[in-house]
Every structure is written in structure tokens, then in C-alpha cells.
Amino acid sequence: MPSEDRPSLGLRLGALGGLLFLHLPILLIFLYAFTTEERSFQFPPPGLTTKWFAVAWFDRPDIWPPLWLSLKVAAIATAVALVLGTLVSAAMSRASFFGREQISLLILLPIALPGVITGMSLRSAFGMMDIPFSVWTIVLGHATFCIVIVYNNAVARFRRLSGGILEASADLGANAFQTFRHILLPNLGSALLAGGMLAFALSFDEVIVTTFTAGTGLESKTLPIWMLDELIRPRQRPVTNVVAIVVFVATFFPILIAYYLTRGGSETAGSGK
């Protein structure tokens, strides 16, 4: 487009409207964290109060175990996905080899197949092998679809990374491990961060696979499952909104930081070319 090209009115409205569409329901979630109703909502809210924040903080010890569990599951799943995703993307970025296409399909499968199927097949496999439900069964399910997220980010970066810098490192006397530590990791870092963040977010908010791979006890109730229970069984329903918006607000800055990190990263990585 010419440098003085301006977006047309229709495009601006479309883009702005789209963003609003994405955020209006979230505003509503904010609003209903302050409603005075306790059980089920109606519009407009009959009154506003801030007491639910206090209630969530002081009176609801049942929030914390699911929150920690979700953080733990997401952290472990992300870590596993980071390792496995980086390994495949490293392999896939190398010269072609037999079965490459099939592997790329396989990596994609857990995200391309609906979550019910992933969840149900893992569950029936657990059943057949008599694996008891635990944190690890949840992690197993989550890591499976997180790999592809990490992989996508890493493989794109590998593609952009000029192969030259890895050879340059070896040429200057670095062994494979030094090259990994000093060249590959710093250049891959921001892509892994972005992939990791997204994977974490997905895992943190996952319900569908989790309902299949989590046991029934309290100790395997992740935050989304807790929310599901809360929502179909309304007591102090605004508390779920409070939890949702606290998570939302808490993630605002990490996302912003990740944005600036990955943006900067893509620029420097591109300049190697």
C-alpha cells in the first residue's frame, strides 16, 4: 500500500467492532463481580457491592486448592511441552527426512482433534492400564495439546533463524552444547516464551480434556472445574466472576511483557539474514 494509504472506514469499523465484540462480555463479567445478587443473575443488576472481593479472599478457602492445582498443572504441562516441543521443532527444522510429513501431522493432531476425543481416549487408556487419576493424568492430557503450541512458535523461529549462525558458531570452535547454550537458546528464547505463555493459558483454562482426565476427588479439581461446579450450583456466584477477573488482571502485564519480548526477538532474529 502506498505510504499515505489510510484504512477505509468500513475496515476501521470492522476492526473496532470486532475488538469490542471480544471485550463486551468481559466487561459484563467485571460488572457482575459487583452485583448484589447471590445465586443467579439478572439484568440489570439490582445493586452493586464490593463485598465479593472480601468474601473471595476471606471466606472461601475452597478457591485456593483449585487455583494452586491449576497453576501447578499448567506449569508442569508447559514445562513438558517446552522440552518436547523444542526437541521436535529442532528435528523438524533440519533437512528433510523420511516421515517428516507424518510427524508434523501427528504433532498437530491433539489440537486438531476435538478435546472430547483426546480426553476420552486418554481416559479409556488410563482405565485399561489401571492408571489411577492424579495430577499426572491431568498433566498428561494438557501437555499433549500444549506441545503443538510450543512447536508452532519454535518452528517458525527456527525457520527464520538463518542456519548460518549455528554453523558460524561451530566454525568458531564451539561444540554442540556451547552452540545450544550461547546461540540457539538465546535466539529461540522469546519464541519459547511466547509459546509457553500460550500453552500455559490454554492449560490453565482447559475444561474439556480435564473433565476426562481428572479424578473426582477434591484434590483433582482444577480451577475451571471448580468454576464449572460453582456455575451449575450457584452460591455466591459473583465470586466466580471475582476469580475470573483477578486472573484476567493478573495476566495483563505478563502478556504485555511477552509481546514486547517476542516483538523485539523477531526483529533481531530476522537481522541475521
Binding site: 445465586r39 443467579s40 443473575f41 439478572q42 439484568f43 482405565g127 479424578g215 473426582t216 476427588g217 477434591l218 456455575l231 451449575i232 450450583r233 450457584p234 452460591r235
Partner: protein
Amino acid sequence: QMTAIGAGEGQVDIVAWPGYIERGETDKAFDWVTKFEAATGCKVNVKTANTSDEMVALMNEGGFDLVTASGDASLRLVSGGRVQPINVDLIPSWGTVDDRLKSAPWHTVDGVHYGVPYMWGPNVLMYNTEVFKEAPTSWNVVFEEMTLPDGKSNKGRVQAYDGPIHVADAAQYLMAHKPELGITSPYELNEDQYKAALDLLRQQRELTSRYWHDAFIQIDDFKNEGVVASGSWPFQVNLLKADGQPIASTIPSEGATGWADTTMMHVDAAHPNCAYMWMEHTLSSNLQSDLAVWFGANPSVPAACTDGRGMSTAESCTANGMDDFEKIRFWTTPVSKCSQGECVPYYRWVSDYIGVIGGR
């Protein structure tokens, strides 16, 4: 079968209907778990299930000790071998159980008891009192298209239960309005009777904008979706009333289906001692009495109405239909062998009802 109760295992896992096992979290006044846990050291873990089918599935999968199974699930569990016979001698309060329930066919097979009666009640017709100044007298408000007292059609303003057992409600309606079909029990339908019931349900599909299987979503729908009448449980009625909504319930002239639930024990129960302790607790504590008030149902121990161990009173029991036992046709699993000879079995109810909801 157990012969003696040992020390508790520290926990008991129960599959239950929503609202059945309260520990004072929804309402501080309703708590029949905390004391049990304190007394026995058995921690109670509850998995709620919204339909009988879900309960059967959960029990088939295992990992639970007890289930509050309704009549449309209990026999399936027995014949599937998922539950074990109960040694009533190990339950000291067995003798206080309502005689009408002690050997009810939905949990007693060949004289062997497979559970302890828990609670029973009718599927009432819940309605909005602003629309119905007077209680509707017939289920026709949810089955036939009509103009309601507020002058608007009932189309889109009624709901029905999202479980195949709802076919029985249709059959019961036909019992009264199409006697020529010769239906004697809504759970025993031959092909013609079954077909007529399905046709009625298809007609109902036109009126129903959403089926309910989740009690709380139904509550939301009565509040926000303009739903004014539906088959329901006293539980929702009570919650909505407590919220100040213009809601009431009735048993119309055709009668009502109802549920009678039994606490049954899994064959592979991992915590049998706690399970027995819980079964005893269900009969002897404030549970029967308070649950009856909470859920709007009837205790299996008649004394619970009057002995002041909980909130029930003789009046509240009467209001919940303690004396209507004979009028209620309790959920039982339809089987192919029936008093008419050949009946449509339950698995066809399942798939056909999915079809009806899908508009077929």
C-alpha cells in the same frame, strides 16, 4: 456381604443428586455432613450427577462407594452387578424405615436388599404465579399448545426434563386423556402406546425452547428466559421461592411421576465401613428431616416428620405429599418383559428421546 463393621477408612465417595448432600455451604442451616465427619472421621466426597444414566455410568466406571440411585437406575445397577447386597442387620435404624419402602421392588430383588431407602418425592409442576393466578390443574400446559391465563401462548415458555424417563410423564398424561390406548403403567408401554407417547413428546418439542437437566440452569431459565411452567423438583421450587420469585408448584389431576431413591453400595466399594456408617447416618440423624425440607421431598423414616430431630413437621410432610405415596408412579426401569407381555425397553427410550429433542 458384610457381616461386621470395622473402623472407618477415613473417607467415603458418594454419587448423589444435586442438593442431596449439603454441608452448610449453600445455606448454613442445612448441614447433615459435618457432624457425621466429626463423629466417624469419614470424610464425605460428593460427585453430583444430573441424570440417572449418568449415575449408572459413574457406578459402572467405579471409584465410588455409594450412590443415591432412583428407581430407573437401581435395577440396572443390580442386574449389572455393580452394587452389593446390604446386610440390614448392620444398620441399627433399619427398623425405623417406612414400611411402604422396606421391600420396595426397585431395590429388593428376590428378597435381597440392595440398599437403604433415602428419600422420595413427586415430579411437580412448577409454575409462575404471575401467569397462573390459580394453580394449573392439568399437565396439558406443558404438552398442548394453548393460551395461558396471561393471554399469551405457552409456546416457548415451557420446559421439559432432559432425560428419557420423561417419556413416562407423557405416557401418564395419555393414561388420563387417551384411555383407549389402555396404558396401565407409564413404565410399561407396548409399541402403540409408546408411539403415542413419542408423538405427544414431539408435539411438546414445538413448545419447548430448551430442555432442562441441570437444576440451576432451570432456575436461571425461570428467572431470565421467561419460562413459566415445567415439570420440576421441589428443590428448584424452594430455591426460587427463597429468592423471592413468584413461583409455586402443584400436582395436577393426572397425578405425577416421582422418584424414590435408594443409597446403594458399589460391589468394589473401597470404604465399606464408612459406607455402612453413612447409611446408618442417613436414617438416624437430622438428614431425613432437614433434607425433606430442603429438597421438598419425603423422608424414608416417617418418624423424622414429627420427632423434632430436624426441621420437618407433620404439616410440612403432608405438604410435600407424604400421604400421596399411592398417587405417585415411581421411576422404574422399563424392560421388555412386562405385564402386557412385550414392552419397549429402556435403551430405545434413550435413543428415541435424543431423536425427539433433536426434532425427529
